[in-house]
Amino acid sequence: MLRYIIRRVLWAIPILIGVSIVSFFIIQLPPGNYLTALMASMRATGESVDMSQLQTLSERYGLDEPMIVQYWKWISGIVLRGDFGQSFLYTRPVSDLLWERLGLTFILAFTSMIFVWLIAFPIGVYSAVRKYSIGDYVMTFVGFIGLATPNFLIALILMYVSFTVFGQSAGGLFSPQYLDAPWSWAKFADMMSKIWIPVVVIGTAGTAALIRIMRANMLDELPKTYVDAARARGLSGAHAVTKYPLRVALNPFVSRIGWELPELISGATITAIVLSLPTTGPLLLEALLAQDMYLAGSFIMMLSVLTVIGTLISDLLLAWLDPRIRQGVVG
C-alpha cells in the first residue's frame, strides 16, 4: 500500500511540471510579450509609459533572455515566493486575484461532485437492478438529454425561467449585502442558498454520465458467479446484491470520479461565466480576451493543479477500496 502511494505521489510530480510548461506555453502564445501588451494597454488608457518601470519588469521576467530562463524565472517565482506575476488588467499581483476565486471554484466543483455522487449512485443502481423498467427508461432518457445539453444552455434556461417566472436573476453566489463582506456564517448560509443553481447546472452532464457508468458496471457485475455463490450461502437477493456487486461496481465508479473532476472544473468555468459567479471562469475569460497572459496562465495552471490533486486523491481512495490495486495485481 505504502509503495503504491509513494509511486502514485511521485508520478504526480512530472504531471505538475508538464502542466506548468503547458501553461507557460499558453502565456507565450499571443504575439508580442508582456511588455508590448502592457504598453498597448497603458497607451489605450492614456497613461504615460514609464521606461524605467518597464526596464524593471523586463528584468524581473527575464523578457530579453531565452525562453527557458523566462520559464524558470516564472515558475521559481511561483514555487519559491508565491509570486504569480503581475496582472496589468487589474494592476495588481496575480496571486491577490487568484486565491479567493480559486477557493470558490474549488467549493463549487466539490459541491457539484457530491451532488453528482448522491444523484448518480442510487439511480445507476436502480436502473441496473430494474433493467428495462419504466423507471430505467425514464432515467436513461433524462440522462441522454442531460448529456446532450451544453452547460451554458442549461444555465441560460434556468436564468430565463427564474427571470420570467420568479422575476429575479439567478446569477451570482452572494446577495448584494454579502458581496464584499468578510466570511461569516451568514455569508456562508447565503452562499449555500444560491449555490444549488450552479451546482445543478455543472452537475447535470456529469450525473448523466455517471448514471450510465454505474448502470453498466452493475450490469457487468450482477450476472457474475460470486453473486450466486453468495446467495448459495443463504444470503437474500437484496443482501447479496448490496454486499457484492455494488461493492465491486463502486471501484470503477470511484476511479471515474478522478476523470470527472477535470470535467466538473471545465463545466464550472463556462457556467460561472454565464451565471457571473465570482469564481475563476469569468476572470479567466476576461484575462484571455484582454491577453493579460500572466493572469490567464496562472489560472489555467492552478485549475490544472487542482485537477491533478483531485485525481491523485481519487486514485488513493481507489487503492484503499480495491485490494487488487493495493497489492499491485492490476493497474
Binding site: T225, G237, R247
Partner: protein
C-alpha cells in the same frame, strides 16, 4: 409450501419432471425439459452430459437460483422427507423466500466451476466464509472466525488463519476451490451440489479436490450431487449416474450398470468415445457423429435420433420416448427398450 410424500423414505432429494425454460426475445429455450432422478441419503449421484445438456441449469433450479429470463415452469424438487415421509417441494417456493433461504446454504451447499469467479474480487475469504457459518449458527464474531478458520483447516488449506484474511486472487486455483468447499461445508449441509468443480483445475489438483470431497463425505455422511462431463471422475466417486441429453435424463442407473450394461444408445456412445489403454495402435477414438442440435431446433421424437447408431426410421423421429424401467433402479428413455418385467409395471 407444498408437502408431498416421497416414494422412498431413504431418498434425500427427488427431482420429478423438472422443467426450466428460458424465455428469450427470440423464443423459448427448453434448457431442462422433464428431468427426473433421485439421490439416496449419504450417496453420490453424478450427473453427466455434454455442454448444453442442461446440467448446470438443473443444479441452479434445485438451488432456487434460476436466473431471468429462465424460469422453473414445471415439475417438483422434493427435499428431505420427515418421519412421515412427507417432503417439501422446493419448486413451489419463491427463490428469494425466507423458507428457501433456510434450506439454501445451511441445508444445501453448492460449489461452482470457476472458483475465481465464485469469489468476490474485493472481499476476503473470511468475509464470505463467515456468511456461511452464520447461516447455520448464530454465533459471536470471534466464534464465527474460529469456525471459519477451522473449516479452512478441514479442507486442507495450510496456514488457515492467515488465509482467512486473504483475498481470492492471492490463492492458487486449487486453494480457491478448497476455500469454496470450506464455505459450503462450514454450514454443515446435508447435500453438496458440485457443479463441475474440477473442470477449471489441472489434473493433480483435480485429484486432490476429488479425494477431499470423498473424505469429507465419509466423515460427515453428506450426500453429493456431482455434475461433470468427465466419465473418469464418475468412475472414481459415483454411486449412481444420471445421463442428461438436451434437458432430459436419458439414463439413470447405479455406476456399475451405467458403465458395464448401459441401456441407452447415448450412454453407449459416450463410453465408446472414452480412450482405452487396451486400444490397438492407430485405432481412432469413436466420436459421436453430428453435434448437439441448436436449442431452437430440437429434433422431433427422440431428441437423440439424428446422432443415434440404433436409429430406426419411422419410429424414433415420430414418438417421444418414455422412461423405461429396464431393471430395478435402472431406467432409460429409449423407444427400443422393453420394460424388464411387464408384470411389475402393471
Amino acid at each position: 409450501m407444498r408437502q408431498i410424500p416421497m416414494r422412498e423414505p431413504d431418498t434425500l432429494l427427488e427431482v420429478r419432471d423438472l422443467a426450466t425454460h428460458f424465455f428469450t426475445d427470440e423464443g423459448v429455450v427448453r434448457a431442462v425439459d422433464g428431468a427426473s432422478f433421485d439421490i439416496p441419503r449419504g450417496k453420490t449421484l453424478c450427473i453427466v452430459g455434454e455442454s448444453g445438456s442442461g446440467k448446470s441449469v438443473m443444479a441452479r433450479a434445485v438451488m432456487g437460483l434460476t436466473r431471468a429470463p429462465g424460469r422453473v415452469v414445471g415439475g417438483s424438487v422434493l427435499w428431505c422427507p420427515d418421519q412421515d415421509g412427507q417432503a417439501t417441494d422446493l419448486a413451489t417456493l419463491h427463490g428469494n423466500s425466507r423458507a428457501y433461504r433456510a434450506i439454501r446454504g445451511p441445508e444445501i451447499g453448492m460449489i461452482f466451476q470457476e472458483p475465481m469467479a465464485a469469489l468476490s474480487p474485493v472481499h476476503t475469504i473470511g468475509t464470505q466464509l463467515a456468511e456461511s457459518v452464520r447461516s447455520r449458527h448464530a454465533v459471536s464474531k470471534r466464534e464465527t472466525r474460529e469456525r471459519g478458520i477451522e473449516a479452512l483447516a478441514r479442507v486442507g488449506i495450510p496456514e488457515p488463519a492467515a488465509r482467512y484474511d486473504q483475498y481470492g486472487f492471492e490463492l492458487s486455483g486449487g486453494m480457491r476451490q478448497r476455500a469454496m468447499i470450506a464455505m459450503a461445508l462450514a454450514a454443515e449441509p446435508k447435500l453438496l451440489i458440485a457443479d463441475e468443480p474440477t473442470t477449471a483445475l489441472d489434473v493433480t489438483t483435480q485429484a486432490g479436490i476429488l479425494d477431499l470431497i470423498l473424505d469429507l463425505q465419509s466423515e460427515t455422511g453428506m450426500t453429493v450431487m456431482f455434475i461433470t462431463h468427465d466419465l473418469g471422475v464418475v468412475a472414481e466417486i459415483a454411486d449412481s449416474v444420471a445421463v442428461m441429453y438436451l434437458g432430459r435424463v436419458v439414463e439413470h442407473a447405479d455406476v456399475d450398470t451405467a458403465f458395464h450394461a448401459p441401456a441407452h444408445p447415448y450412454t453407449e456412445a459416450l463410453l465408446r468415445a472414452l480412450p482405452s489403454i487396451h486400444a490397438k495402435t492407430g485405432e481412432r477414438l469413436a466420436a459421436i457423429p453430428g453435434m448437439v442440435p441448436h436449442p431452437f431446433a430440437r429434433p422431433a421424437g427422440c431428441a437423440f435420433h439424428p446422432r443415434c447408431h440404433r436409429f430406426r426410421p419411422g419410429l424414433c423421429e415420430t414418438r417421444e420416448p418414455e422412461n423405461v424401467p429396464v431393471a430395478p433402479g435402472h431406467g432409460a428413455r429409449c423407444l427400443l427398450l422393453k420394460p424388464a418385467r411387464k408384470a411389475a409395471a402393471e
